[in-house]
Amino acid sequence: MGSTSTKIKLRTSDQKVFEVEKAVAVQSQTIKYIYENGCPDSVIHVHSVSGDILSKILDYCKKHVNSAAGKEDISPEELYEWDANFVKVDQNTLFDLILAANCLKIESLLDLTCQTVANMIKGKRPEEIRTTFNIKNDYTIEAEEAVRRENKWAFDMLGGVGTMVIEELADDTMSKCVTNTKSRVCVIAANQIVMMRSISKLANKKSIDVYKQPQNPTTPRIKESVKQRNVGTGFIELFFHFKCKM
């Protein structure tokens, strides 16, 4: 019997048994180590991974082994897309995948899952991260206050005192607003059709940062939204989190 069809048996925490090709199973450095240093015929008990998760992981390993060996005709871009779809799972599953990939020592899967989580937390505030990952806030009131202050400072370039929001104004009125304002930050509402270049030029002269509110802003922190009607009557205190700068 040829060694190309060597199979390895894996038993999961919920007593499911998987029989996989050796080439696929040894994508996991842990399994490889156990296989090479233990008895080849024994069943490897993967104690901390459930059947569902191991099944998914074995899919991943199989896909990557086949594509590397040329058994499957798949381009690097297609593999990249397959990977992207692989991690489109709920956060519980993602969590289990990361832990399992770490335990089984599958570097590429660990990279993929960690990068996915990194992308999910980039640019978010603590409350949003807690919601996404279902994490309970276990801070004391004082510690939470300190965190709130820290985040205010960390996101200081947008919002805070000195922000002006322009909504539903005519272009020449808007120009007057920008010319006369004492604000350092000027926010133009999403539905506002503006003469972008002229506003930018004016704003640059006065060292004002101009931001355009995106279509669906994440604005849980808006305290109040006031329409600027009077030219040059000062500025509005608002707390926005914007994604794009004009």
Binding site: T30, G38, C39, N102, L104, C114, I121, K136, D138
Partner: protein
């Protein structure tokens, strides 16, 4: 972006340690793998959280440390590199708030576009972050000597310090710092006119024996005594920027040529007092210090020698001296691809060329012209 290296690697445990190997025997023996049963994101193992955090920007890393106690503890334990240069308004407050948390920081970049940092923030860093090795405080106009005194007491492991543009520092405070921070390898004092004086340089020469790179750009109080003390005290000096140090003369360069045999990069822009004597001293020093047969393994001889030299506006130099220098150091180039011998403003030196420029010229001339 934070690189993977920003996380302390000794904390990453191997899952092999969790393995329980049952002695191999008959078939059917099960080999077990230990693993804790973790179900919540707040309990994610520290090395995994740090791996994720190493993939995000600094601000997100700070935010992540505020999600819950578990994440805070993991990140505060593992975060070793942080930059707050993106912070335009509240850098001082952030440093005051973060220093007590991130006590394991080794690299901290606080370069500012508009000056925000004050003494109390640097004092906080000195009080909490004793592992700091690299600190960038450039353009912190508001800092006073109190900051240097604090750093001296709190951060003795500093190897790379950038205080360029911190114009309020005095030489006494800098001298005090060098007494305590003797591991300094890279020091940037560009524009620190009050701090970079001969007195400070003498202190550096006495205390910072491992110094490799020093930037004294535009410090016009620097004179020969200072540079000579530096040359005698810091034999490992590789890069020295004396741009705009108008007071120095040939004596400085002769001392450097004599004592700093690893010198790779020297900037003498606008040092009008430099004459051919300096050039010849550099060339002769290299020739004289070529290792003898039985000394060649000592490693004091740097194979390539001077790689970069800026003598722009040193109008007293003549072509023969500079050409000798160019011939002695093969790494000095005037050719367009690798322009490492910079002589702008020296109209008399246009005839000086490196060997490759001459070679290219010769090749062009030997291409035979086709007849007819």
């Amino acid at each position: 972006m934070i690189s993977k290296a920003k996380v302390g690697s000794e904390e990453l445990n191997s899952s092999f340690e969790k393995l329980l190997m049952v002695a191999a025997g008959n078939s059917g023996v099960r080999v077990r793998m230990e693993g804790a049963v973790i179900t919540d994101w707040k309990d994610i193992p520290m090395e995994l959280l740090l791996r994720i955090v190493s993939l995000v920007d600094d601000r997100t890393a700070i935010v992540a440390s505020g999600v819950c106690c578990g994440w805070r503890d993991a990140i505060c334990f593992g975060l070793t590199q942080l930059s707050l240069s993106w912070c335009k308004k509240n850098m001082n407050n952030l440093v005051l708030s973060l220093a007590p948390k991130f006590t394991r920081l080794q690299t901290l970049i606080l370069r500012q576009e508009n000056p925000q940092l004050e003494d109390n923030a640097v004092e906080a860093i000195a009080n909490f972050c004793h592992d700091i090795q690299e600190l960038d405080l450039s353009k912190s106009f508001k800092l006073s000597d109190h900051s240097l005194y604090a750093l001296a007491r709190g951060c003795p492991n500093i190897t790379k310090l950038n205080i360029s543009g911190c114009t309020s520092f005095s030489d006494g405070a800098l001298e005090y710092l060098t007494n305590f921070c003797q591991k300094l390898k890279i020091l940037n004092l560009c524009g620190c006119v009050k701090a970079a004086t001969d007195r400070a340089l003498q202190a550096i020469g006495r205390n910072c024996k491992r110094l490799q790179s020093l930037n004294l750009g535009w410090c016009d109080n620097v004179g020969d005594i200072g540079v000579m003390s530096l040359a005698y005290g810091c034999p490992d000096l590789k890069c020295l920027d004396l741009c705009g140090c108008v007071r120095i003369t040939d004596d400085s360069v002769i001392a450097l040529a004599d004592k700093c045999l690893h010198l790779r990069s020297l900037d003498l822009y606008y040092c009008r007092n430099i004459t051919d004597r300096a050039m010849y001293s550099l060339a002769h020093s290299r020739v004289n210090n070529k290792p003898s047969l039985w000394q060649s393994m000592k490693g004091r001889y740097d194979e390539e020698g001077l790689r970069s030299l800026n003598i722009s506006q040193c109008t007293a130099l003549t072509p023969s001296a500079v050409q000798t220098l160019c011939d002695t150091f093969p790494a000095l180039h005037t050719c367009s691809g690798r322009h490492t011998l910079v002589m702008s403003g020296c109209l008399s030196l246009t005839s000086v060329h490196c060997a490759c420029a001459v070679q290219a010229h010769r090749t062009l001339n030997t291409i035979p012209h086709t007849a007819h």
